[in-house]
């Protein structure tokens, strides 16, 4: 057995172990999910005061819809205030915001451009409500989203609650791919929530106790992923973050590859660099599942995914290359190949890969069921299965390269 085989076996073991671990977690929380679905958002006795910050930079196309969705939230109006921060937009965002100038629930602030974290901090200084949240200006909330988040704060240990994020009106092939990917994310976040291992409090509608910012400070740049850094800071201080998978938020996603690539490079780069900043949490039992297992496996999986996909691509290319040589040597053989099981790949790695794929399908089924209420084979699933494996290595490689060679990345 050579070094390549060993890496492949280790990668497969890690992938399988993670999938098995997630499925065991799912079996454990299954009943909890049913109860949440039945009782959450009903009989809320006390509504805490909530501020939602909407930071925006050049969001003229979506900011109005974002604010309208917030105004439609099923929540007592006197308890909900919205603070929009125009972070030095150079398009018509300021004009669009004027439409809400007279609205009693909305305050509009503006400042010179300094990045999302500065816009959030600018608003945080002015907030004295019980809870505070953020909503990116390209995202839209379901009317019952806040009501499905509030009950979690009955537990005084819980300092932040994250929602389930879905893709807003997918149109392009890549948006359909992301729709399925986000469904996977909904499943994963709910499982991580049960493990106390959420490492992102996403920009779209994560709600915090305001006290958190007073004791831990405001947002920081966080390598362009301030939401990831904030979650890690909470986890490091042993603050509990949970996920309300019934609280749905819709977000606009990149329609073209270039936009998607840039966004994902930023996310992966942010994860890697924040992981380096918070490296003392790694394999540290003090931080529970997130330190002992989730952060290390999320980091290792970047490498295993690259290696495994690289292997698959290399093998496929060498087969294509062989076929080309064969074609150029003897032309096309029109004989229909007769089936003989002998020529099926029965290597250990092939059988393990099939097992991992079966588990992946099971998790995908559960994810889509959790996100949409029912699982069906849609065109999104087809696009996802065909394209995703080739897309992921693109941004993983670039983010890894930028991290290793300390190259900066851009937001947009």
């Amino acid at each position: 057995m050579d070094i390549q085989d060993i890496i492949l076996y280790v990668s497969l073991f890690i992938s399988l172990f993670f999938e098995v671990f997630l499925l065991i977690t799912y079996l454990e929380v299954r009943e909890e999910l049913v109860l949440e679905k039945r009782h959450l958002a009903k009989d809320i006795k006390q509504f805490p005061t909530v501020s939602i910050i909407v930071p925006c930079f050049n969001e003229e196309k979506t900011v109005v819809s974002t604010l309208e969705s917030l105004l439609k939230l099923d929540y007592p109006k006197e308890k909900l205030s919205i603070i929009v921060v125009d972070d030095g937009s150079t398009d018509n965002t300021a004009e669009e915001l004027l439409k809400f100038k007279e609205h009693s629930q909305i305050s509009i602030l503006s400042k010179t451009n300094g990045g999302k974290h500065t816009a959030l901090n600018f608003a945080l200084e002015k907030i004295n409500t019980d809870l505070v949240g953020c909503l990116d200006a390209d995202s839209f909330v379901n009317p019952d989203a806040l009501k499905k988040i509030i009950p979690f704060f009955d537990d005084l240990d819980i300092k932040a609650v994250t929602p389930s994020i879905k893709v807003f009106e997918p149109k392009s092939v890549l948006q359909y791919v992301q729709k399925i990917e986000y469904s996977w994310g909904i499943f994963l976040r709910r499982m991580l929530s049960s493990l106390g291992a959420l490492y992102i409090t996403p920009g779209p509608f994560s709600i915090f106790r305001t006290q958190v910012f007073k004791s831990l400070g405001g947002y920081v740049h966080g390598h362009h992923t301030e939401d990831l850094e904030m979650a890690l800071r909470l986890q490091k201080n042993r603050y509990k973050i949970v996920n309300s998978h019934g609280a749905h938020v819709y977000t606009s996603t990149p329609a073209q590859l270039q936009g998607l690539f840039k966004q994902r490079v930023r996310w992966t780069y942010g994860f890697l660099n924040n992981a380096i900043d918070y490296r003392e949490m790694f394999f540290n039992k003090k931080y529970g599942n997130i330190g002992f297992f989730i952060l290390p496996i999320a980091t290792v999986s970047i490498f295993t995914v690259l290696y495994t996909v690289g292997n698959v691509v290399w093998n496929s290319l060498s087969r294509v290359f062989d076929a080309v040589i064969r074609y150029r040597t003897v032309g096309i053989s029109w004989e229909f190949p007769s089936f003989d099981w002998y020529f099926l790949n029965t290597n250990v790695t092939a059988i393990l890969a099939i097992s991992a794929i079966i588990f992946t399908f099971v998790i995908l089924y559960l994810s889509i069921k959790m996100a949409d209420g029912k699982a069906k084979f849609s065109k999104g699933v087809f696009y996802y299965l065909v394209l995703y494996i080739f897309l992921v290595p693109l941004w993983l490689t670039k983010a890894l390269f930028n991290t290793i060679f300390k190259r900066q990345i851009s937001w947009r």
Binding site: D5, F13, L16, F17, V20, F21, I24, T25, E28, G196, K285, G288, N289, F292, F293, D322, I325, R326, T329, V330, S333, E335, Y342, F343, N345, T346, N347, V348, A350, I351, L352, S355
Partner: protein, 233 residues
């Protein structure tokens, strides 16, 4: 809070999946080798039967030789062994034994065919093909494709392939009889040596024995076409 029991259970389940995969793979790979062994036994029996038939020829005539006189399964046996060679999980000792047997069966078949040629005056075309699995032989893969295609095109053509570097006494003897240089791929076609890569067209135009085969095939095809075109009544 960390639930170490869950980690242990997940680890055990993963380990069981790994163990099962190794077990199933071993069983299936053993079955594959067994399949090759069964075919080899069948080929050995075919050859024994042909040899016996040949011995009886001393008392009968060549016309008694049927079309299935020589074993038909050598080709598929070769393909299976080539595939098995690329499977890293197969036990190399078993595979080496099967390859050794295969080469010896090929040589026996070849000798039988030669004796048949001498006795009955038939003129079969045969190719002794020497290749190497080492990276030094760039053209061996392409030559292999050509010979497989030739065998499909000309069912009367018998191709015997040998791994030049495989340590079998009989192969070494063949190499020294035909004085084959280690300039691979190398072919002995009806006793004449050919070195390097030959395409199908090259073989059909440059090698007299294959030229004859090609002419016979074209003639047979023409006759078959004219028979189809001419009404019989």
């Amino acid at each position: 809070m960390m639930d170490s029991k869950k980690y242990i259970v997940a680890f055990l389940i993963t380990a069981v999946i790994f163990g099962t995969a190794i077990f199933v793979s071993n069983i299936l790979n053993q079955k594959k080798l067994e399949d090759v062994r069964v075919i080899e036994n069948r080929v050995a029996l075919d050859i024994l039967s042909s040899e016996t038939q040949f011995a009886l020829l001393e008392e009968t005539s060549c016309s008694d030789i049927g079309p299935g006189f020589l074993s038909k399964e050598l080709g598929s046996l070769g393909e299976k062994l080539t595939y098995a060679e690329n499977q890293t999980d197969l036990i190399s000792a078993d595979l080496e034994y099967l390859k050794r047997s295969y080469f010896l069966l090929e040589i026996k078949d070849y000798l039988l065919m030669k004796r048949l040629t001498e006795k009955c005056g038939i003129k079969p075309t045969f190719i002794l093909y020497f290749y190497s699995t080492e990276s030094s032989c760039d053209d061996c893969e392409r030559m292999g494709y050509v010979l497989t295609a030739m065998r499909d095109k000309y069912p009367d053509l018998r191709v015997y392939s040998f791994d030049y570097n495989f340590d079998v006494g009989a192969i070494n003897t063949l190499v020294s009889i035909y004085k084959i240089e280690p300039n691979l791929p190398a072919m002995i076609i009806n006793s004449d040596p050919y070195y390097g890569f030959y395409s199908i067209e090259d073989l059909e135009t440059k090698v007299p024995a294959i030229q004859r085969l090609a002419t016979t095939r074209t003639k047979a095809l023409k006759e078959a076409t004219s028979t189809l075109e001419t009404p019989t009544n």
